[in-house]
């Protein structure tokens, strides 16, 4: 069971939940996590596939091959928008 923090539009697309709790059965890599999310929340899955939403593990952007371990801090990051241009 992993817990995933959601922000901005991904929170909205998950029905305004701040976190998702998911079970990883078929593999423990970031790409396996993305598959599970895609099945449950296809709109978020599409943004993840397009790399518009990124996965962070322990507060760093994670490669899809990175292995996820118990206790890791995982989040979905929509496009950033700090301040004004």
């Amino acid at each position: 069971m992993v817990t995933i923090q959601l922000f901005g539009m991904t929170k909205m697309l998950a029905g305004n939940q701040g976190t998702l709790s998911l079970s990883l059965h078929d593999g423990k890599r970031v790409k396996d996590l993305v598959s599970v999310i895609d099945a449950a929340y296809p709109k978020i899955g599409e943004l993840l596939q397009k790399k518009k939403v990124l996965v962070s593990v322990n507060q760093e952007i994670a490669h899809e091959d990175l292995e996820v371990n118990d206790g890791d801090e995982i989040a979905l990051l929509p496009p950033f928008a700090g301040g004004n241009r």
């Binding site: 923090q5 922000f7 901005g8 539009m9 909205m12 518009k52 962070s56 507060q59 801090e73 989040a75 990051l77 929509p78 496009p79 950033f80 928008a81 700090g82 301040g83 004004n84 241009r85």
Partner: protein, 157 residues
């Protein structure tokens, strides 16, 4: 909370450094933030600053207000990285990076960068790099309130 953070909180001597990178709900005074930076060195001669404020228009639409959401922990980590790299890579004396979250009224402060150096050229370079980098790497999101509804803004599609 890491041991390092606990130690810092216990030592008033390093309090100033922790205050140089913040994500906070409250508004800030530029004079007060400048004081924090300036008391770090008497060698400072040129200070470049960037202040981002809430405009009443964005891409041709009216905006009534903005809400910023941030990833607590990662946002601070990225801002600390920006401060450290700006000091190291641009040869400036001190850098302050401050971003607000929560509801922001039109005209209010959003983000402040202060880069203090001996001379102005490096202060400007560090300041401009820091705000560009902040927008690239800091997990902060912007919800614009418009007459047509609320929109999560994608500045980097």
């Amino acid at each position: 909370m890491s041991l390092e953070q606990v130690t810092k909180a216990d030592q008033p001597a390093t309090d100033d450094e922790a205050m140089l990178v913040r994500v906070q709900r409250e508004d800030f005074s530029i004079d007060e933030e400048l004081k924090r930076v300036r008391r770090r060195s008497k060698r400072i001669g040129g200070i470049a600053m960037f202040l981002g404020t809430a405009r009443d228009r964005s891409k041709g639409k009216d905006v009534d207000g903005i809400t910023f959401e941030h990833y607590e922990g990662m946002a601070q980590k990225k801002l600390r990285e920006i401060r450290e790299r700006a000091i190291k890579d641009f040869g400036v004396i001190e850098v302050l990076v401050l971003h607000r979250y929560g509801e922001i009224t039109i005209g209010e402060n959003i983000v402040l960068i202060i880069a203090a150096a001996e001379h102005r050229a490096e202060a400007f370079r560090a300041c401009q790099w820091a705000i560009d980098e902040l927008k690239q790497i800091t997990p902060i999101w912007k919800l614009e309130h418009t007459p047509e509804g609320e929109v999560w803004v994608e500045e980097h599609p």
